[in-house]
Subunit: 243 residues, 2 copies
Amino acid sequence: MITKSLPSIFTIGNLFLGIVSIILVFNGNAPLAAVMVIIAMLLDGVDGRVARALNVQSEFGKELDSLSDVISFGVAPAFIIYVVAFQELAPAAGWIVTALFPICGALRLARFNVISGTPGYFIGLPIPAAGGVLCTMALFQENIHNIALLLATIVLSLLMVSNVKYPNFKKVGIPKAAIWVVPIIVIIAIVIALNASPDTLSKLIFVPLLIYALYGLKKNVDTLFRRRRKQQSEDVDAVEQQL
Amino acid sequence: MITKSLPSIFTIGNLFLGIVSIILVFNGNAPLAAVMVIIAMLLDGVDGRVARALNVQSEFGKELDSLSDVISFGVAPAFIIYVVAFQELAPAAGWIVTALFPICGALRLARFNVISGTPGYFIGLPIPAAGGVLCTMALFQENIHNIALLLATIVLSLLMVSNVKYPNFKKVGIPKAAIWVVPIIVIIAIVIALNASPDTLSKLIFVPLLIYALYGLKKNVDTLFRRRRKQQSEDVDAVEQQL
């Protein structure tokens, strides 16, 4: 019974941290709110792996996972950036962009649950990565102009519903014998996370997450250019043949 | 194309209002935030019916609906009551009960999506009704003690994951010929909702929603008593036979 419920306990932990993040940012602690989202990412990375390792995957678990993700990586990061940066904007712009992020996240999750993707790849930026970038980026609010943050939020939202391919690390599983190490690693990570300065920690984590988000974008732009060059050389060939 | 997307547009409208509700309560307007949840309930009641009437039901639409519901009727109402009533409580109590509500809501939605229920009935209080009761109840904060609100939030959360049967009005469909009347009704309802005093409006809507939530509970208690009486009379019969 506990074995069967273990993955769902991690998923519920993820959702719980999403709500705590919303409460923390309401109480004026955006850096700690961002840390909660990051710990939620960790739990989200664990639940599916634990389920596969214990062979207790279920449709219920998958549904619960999506519902937790849309809160912790959709609503919470959007609310963090709203409070930190978009409050002062005109309500129309601030509200619409704040809502756009979880809307695109929900569209991404709904699509992910119904289509069978390419093995080893995600189609569109996964919502945990997008939410991670958004909430850590919010902490640079003093260094980045609000309009740039607004545009970045729009780009992140659109990347989620795009067809850009992202590498999928889900196949990096946990050996069954090592399954009981997972809770210990999670606890150690949480202890470290809570002892470091939340602001520094979140800002550090921003870097790899941003690289991941940009990686897919760059690869897609490369493909686009390659296709165009190929098209151009084909056009040149066709013209030469005609001559 | 538009016909196919129409139900999803209502669903996205529901999610959008959920986010607007969170922003409004953050900006100190709990009554209008509650009105947003109520309008979202209206949109939620419409999307499935429109999909059925136009025969464009889809797995994607169902997933998107759950993701919107957990935000508009799980997170938004919980955040409203947190801001209005639970802020002053000890963080442990306030945070846990605030998170309990969307957690139970997500469990309810995940269960609903994977099990086939009894026709004509919902098993457990549906999350839109629970969220509607919670956010309108929050407006009576001056009249109800915070501890009572805390207990009521716990009861509403548990009713969602309970096996209490609730009547399902989903079968009350819209005739296909009348489908284009729906957006007009929605717009009229929104105009009325926005013109009435948000506080009065939400408090009025609290009453039928509470009756619905209590109805299932009462019916369940009745069944429990009937079963007990039956058991007792059977016990008496058995004793009499033995004598």
